[in-house]
């Protein structure tokens, strides 16, 4: 029995984002959540492990705030939760995150499959999974919509621009999945209660043989601003639905659109 590791990111919920009048972004009041695609990641690991008899575990690199994520992640079925706890996670770019996760995976050991989401809901940079694979020196398959373990390989269906491609990767491997791969159920009350009793393991950066100075962002962010969309925002009014529709047609004529 070896491990199937589901990597997830604990992100600020964009629904709680506040935009200041100067267009700066305030996330200080935002609640955390498991990044959207990563709920599919955890479900995929649980499903795969059920079939292969392996052990599904989760791994996250997050600041102390991410402690909250462990119970949430484990309520979705995995047996054990690993967490690299560092303030550096707040500033980490893709290179730093991949470096930390690869080091943690190495430390956890005895793994046959690493599952990542194609992209996180905050950055959507789609780089951490392949970068982990490069750093561990193992193969990677991205854009996965179906996967299956067979022998010492994982067989994956990938969604490309112009079709589906089926490939097989030697294990251990990293697979980055699209949300189409499954439909994660909402954990039931019992699963939530059981999650609190499951083992968790916390790592510090130093235990992974890394220093904070290894984790600085490679590129300097010089601006982080809300996107402004200037639209007319006219809500068409009228006594009846017919009036509103006529007002719309009138406006579109005036715009020269119809």
């Amino acid at each position: 029995m070896s491990r199937i590791i589901a990597c997830y990111k604990w992100v600020a919920d964009e629904a709680d984002m506040k935009i200041n009048p100067d267009m700066s972004v305030d996330l200080s009041k935002a609640k955390g959540k498991i990044s959207d695609y990563d709920r599919n990641v955890i479900e995929a690991a649980v499903q795969m492990a059920k079939i292969s008899g392996d052990l599904a575990v989760t791994l996250t690199f997050g600041s102390p705030k991410a402690k909250l994520s462990l119970k949430d992640a484990l309520s979705r079925g995995p047996a054990e939760g690993f967490w690299v706890n560092s303030e550096m996670a707040e500033q980490a770019d893709g290179a730093a995150s991949a470096k930390v996760l690869a080091a943690a995976i190495d430390k956890i050991g005895d793994y046959k499959l690493i599952i990542c989401g194609e992209g996180a809901s905050d950055t959507f940079a789609r780089q951490v999974g392949p970068s982990i694979a490069a750093r561990l020196g193992i193969p990677c398959v991205s854009s996965a919509i179906k996967m299956e373990l067979s022998g010492n390989e994982v067989k994956v269906s990938r969604k490309l621009e112009d079709g589906i491609e089926i490939v097989a990767a030697q294990l251990p491997a990293v697979v980055c999945i699209l949300p189409e791969i499954n439909r994660p159920p909402i954990p039931g009350l019992k699963a939530v209660l059981d999650a609190g009793k499951k083992p968790t393991r916390e790592y510090k950066i130093e235990e992974l043989g890394l220093l904070d100075s290894d984790l600085g962002a490679r590129n300097e962010t010089i601006e982080f601003k809300a996107y402004v969309m200037n639209r007319k925002n006219i809500v068409l009014d009228g006594e009846t639905a017919v009036d509103k529709v006529q007002a719309l047609v009138g406006s579109l004529k005036k715009e020269g659109i119809i």
């Binding site: 940079a125 780089q127 951490v128 392949p130 854009s143 590129n219 300097e220």
Partner: protein, 305 residues
């Protein structure tokens, strides 16, 4: 030789990247995995083309070879078109090089103090501007960039034998046959969202689209979950980006991941029963109401007009 390296598995996008890289005034080296493609790319006048000969049909399996090449030649930047293959290849290459990476750069400007890039975050609601001062990999959605041919430019072409990673092997490709949907150049678009109750109600959208001469598009759920329209029909950060003169939505809430794809529309019209739906803030004109009442009335009005 220090300079900018470009790659795409799609020839047109590689050609566009050559032009983008040339804006830096630095030497442009185009990496190709196919000698026929290399001949086509010659026309776009990169200073060099390096053809990597290996024995895998999967471009992603060349990431390590590319990383070694860029390292040995002390390259400054690796530009890759944001296709599925390109993104994976780029991220692996950045991993092997242990360098920074900017994904899906919306803009890239070569300045004296560095390369300034912008990209979208949080589904499109935030713009992050970064400055690149050291070796980096950048992916660019190159489909919208113009490729320009350069007559009679001297191009040096060399071939290198490399070892592709043998650990991922191709089993088969299943091309999907489809009607070509070209939302990117559509003049008008009718967009249906999850507010639509039943697949047969698509008829209502089709009738409206036909009257307007519009293409039909949708949100991700309609394509991926309900599969009422092909996946090429959905608009947004992970789907199509459109720039029509008119976009009309019906039953679309307007989450940012969708709206990011319609920002370049001239006029945005929303029909939604929820006055608090974000689409109302993103629209020029909205009607708050039940689309099952509004759309048939709109169809009637348009028939009269």
């Amino acid at each position: 030789m220090p300079g900018i390296y470009v790659y795409s598995d799609k020839v047109q996008e590689a050609a566009a990247l050559i032009g983008l890289a040339a804006q830096s005034g630095k030497e442009v080296c185009c990496i190709s995995l196919d000698s026929n493609q290399a001949q086509e790319l010659k026309e776009y006048g990169p200073e060099r083309i390096i053809i990597l000969n290996g024995n895998s049909p999967l471009p992603e399996n060349y990431a390590q070879s590319i990383a070694e090449l860029i390292k040995n030649e002390e390259g400054e930047l690796f530009l890759v078109a944001s296709t599925v293959r390109g993104r994976e290849l780029a991220a692996k290459t950045a991993g092997y090089l242990d360098c920074g990476m900017v994904s899906d750069a919306e803009s890239l400007v070569f300045e004296d103090e560095g390369i300034v890039s912008t990209r979208l975050m949080y589904g499109g609601s935030v713009v992050q501007k970064e400055i690149i001062r050291q070796l980096a990999v950048v992916t660019v959605p190159a489909g919208n960039l113009q490729a320009v041919k350069k007559e009679n430019a001297p191009v040096s072409i060399v071939s290198l034998e490399v070892q592709a990673d043998p650990r991922v092997r191709l089993i088969e490709t299943l091309p999907v046959k489809r009607d070509k949907i070209d939302l990117a150049s559509a003049e008008k678009v009718v967009c249906v969202g999850m507010g639509l109750d039943k697949q047969e109600d698509m008829k209502m959208a089709e009738e409206l689209a036909q009257l307007l001469g519009a293409e039909i598009a949708c949100t991700r759920g309609i394509a991926e979950e309900r599969q009422w329209l092909p996946v090429e029909s959905y608009i947004g950060i992970s789907g199509a980006k459109i720039k029509p003169s008119l976009y009309i939505s019906m039953g679309v809430s307007g989450q940012v991941q969708h709206v990011v794809g319609i920002r370049d529309s001239k006029i945005i019209v929303a029909v939604d029963s929820n006055e608090k739906a974000p689409i109302i803030k993103a629209a020029d004109y909205s009607i708050i109401g039940d689309m099952y009442e509004i759309i048939p009335l709109l169809i009637e009005e348009l028939k009269k007009a």
